[in-house]
């Protein structure tokens, strides 16, 4: 066997991964070729160096984390529900009792899911409103159409929304209209009216909510921002600002 034909088989020879015939050929060649013997020695040395690194030690907490996740995985799903084997021998009354218990369980679960999803959707809405407000402050301008003229702002929405929000300039009352833009809240396009009060920016988000009854304003504070939400005439309003709540409520009364 020639050196250039030996190629990658030296490593396999050292790893004892060759079939007996090839192994014999390589051994014979190594016995007669100094260059290949030197190469074999180098390869052996490299192998030892890497082997000497040994395994990395997994951090101690990893074991605990994995066990915890395994416990979580086996506690919850996937385990087939095993009914007691003698269930079809149960007397009718006990059957009925079980069915009733199942129905009650189902109802309770459904109610819980319903409540949770409602809570979730309100919380999500609040988050969307907060995010939209903060995002508007991060932009160069919170408005896409900058105008204090209600007659400029209102037509700007035409064709951009499927409803016409009412737009008022409240400069006389100390809340000059800065303009408006479109935003995206609760998975729909909404109108965002931007008012200013001194250095504060107020975003008023408006969208149609046909099924919502008129409601008095609900006040809340999220991450230091004051929010007011109400609905009137089938329109939902969300006002948000770092303005104090009393002044925000004045604006709400004017809108």
């Amino acid at each position: 066997m020639q050196c250039d034909r030996l190629g990658e088989t030296i490593g396999a020879y050292l790893d004892q991964e060759l079939d007996p015939a090839t192994r014999g050929e390589v051994a014979a060649h190594l016995a007669s070729c100094q260059a290949c013997t030197a190469l074999a020695e180098e390869i052996r040395c490299t192998s030892r160096q890497v082997a000497a690194l040994g395994r990395e030690r997994a951090p101690g907490r990893l074991m605990a984390d994995v066990r915890e996740r395994l416990a979580g995985a086996s506690a919850a799903p996937l385990v087939p529900l095993r009914l007691p084997p003698a269930i079809h021998h149960l007397p009718l009354r006990r059957w009925l009792g079980r069915v009733a218990a199942l129905i009650v369980c189902g109802l309770i679960a459904a109610a819980a899911v319903h409540m949770m999803s409602r809570m979730d959707s309100t919380a999500l809405l609040e988050r969307d409103v907060l995010a939209a407000h903060v995002r508007s402050l991060l932009q160069d301008s919170p408005t896409q159409v900058a105008s204090s003229e209600a007659h400029t702002v209102k037509p700007w929405f035409a064709g951009r929304l499927e409803f016409a929000p009412s737009v008022k300039d409240l400069a006389a009352e100390g809340f000059p209209l800065a303009g408006a833009r479109l935003d995206y809240i609760g998975e729909r396009r909404v109108a965002a009216l931007v008012y200013r009060r001194r250095l504060h920016v107020v975003n008023v988000f408006v969208w149609p909510a046909a099924d919502a009854a008129d409601s008095t304003p609900r006040a809340l504070t999220l991450r230091g921002y004051n929010l007011l939400t109400w609905s009137r005439g089938g329109i939902a309003y969300w006002a948000i600002s770092d303005l104090n709540m009393a002044e925000l409520q004045r604006l709400q009364a004017l809108l």
């Binding site: 991964e17 000497a52 994995v66 395994l70």
Partner: protein, 185 residues
């Protein structure tokens, strides 16, 4: 419940092996921890009547999870010019990503001047395929057949990859030694 106990009995002893492969593929300890957690969870869900040594099978899952992470990382790196200064921290001319390499830098090596540190740094520089081949063969001492099954390539490919990986490693080590000497002068 007993199913979990059985799985833990078989799989948990291989956690260092799993962690080692994940670490050398990802070159980041936090990422390796994530990969091991995901892999164990996957393995547990997939396991049915595994008998004997489950290490190669477990390592295969670890590998899949780690490779997915690597490709996610590569996608992110395409979008964001990601730590450009750090990307050639190990002085690699290879296109391989050098993200968050926990392996010691060339400077660390010079300070520690330990052979092991140098081997670690050299190994970290190799392409993922070569790192993987060396870890599975030299550290895990798996047979070519097991490595072939684990990486999904023919045995012949395992053989040539290993040969190239060892040659590459020798080359990088030689370069580091030369640099170390010229630093010392």
């Amino acid at each position: 419940m007993t199913e979990r106990a059985e799985f833990e009995r078989l799989a948990l002893p291989h956690m260092d092996a799993a962690y080692t492969l994940a670490f050398w593929l990802l070159r980041s300890r936090p990422d390796a921890e994530d990969a091991v957690q995901d892999a164990y969870l996957r393995a547990f869900r997939a396991v049915r009547n595994v008998q004997g040594d489950i290490r190669p099978w477990l390592l295969k899952i670890v590998r899949n999870v780690a490779l997915r992470k690597l490709s996610e990382r590569a996608r992110t790196a395409n979008v964001i010019p990601f730590d450009a200064a750090r990307s050639d921290r190990l002085g690699s001319e290879r296109g391989a990503l050098q993200v968050a390499a926990d392996a010691p830098s060339a400077e660390d090596v010079a300070v520690e001047a330990g052979e092991q540190a140098m081997v670690r740094a050299a190994l970290a520089e190799l392409a993922p395929t070569f790192r993987e081949a060396l870890v599975l063969r030299e550290i895990e001492a798996l047979s070519y057949r097991e490595i072939a099954g684990l990486t999904g390539v023919p045995i012949g490919t395992v053989m040539s990859r290993l040969a190239r990986a060892r040659a590459e490693l020798r080359k990088v080590l030689a370069r580091m030694m030369r640099r170390g000497e010229s630093d010392a002068v």
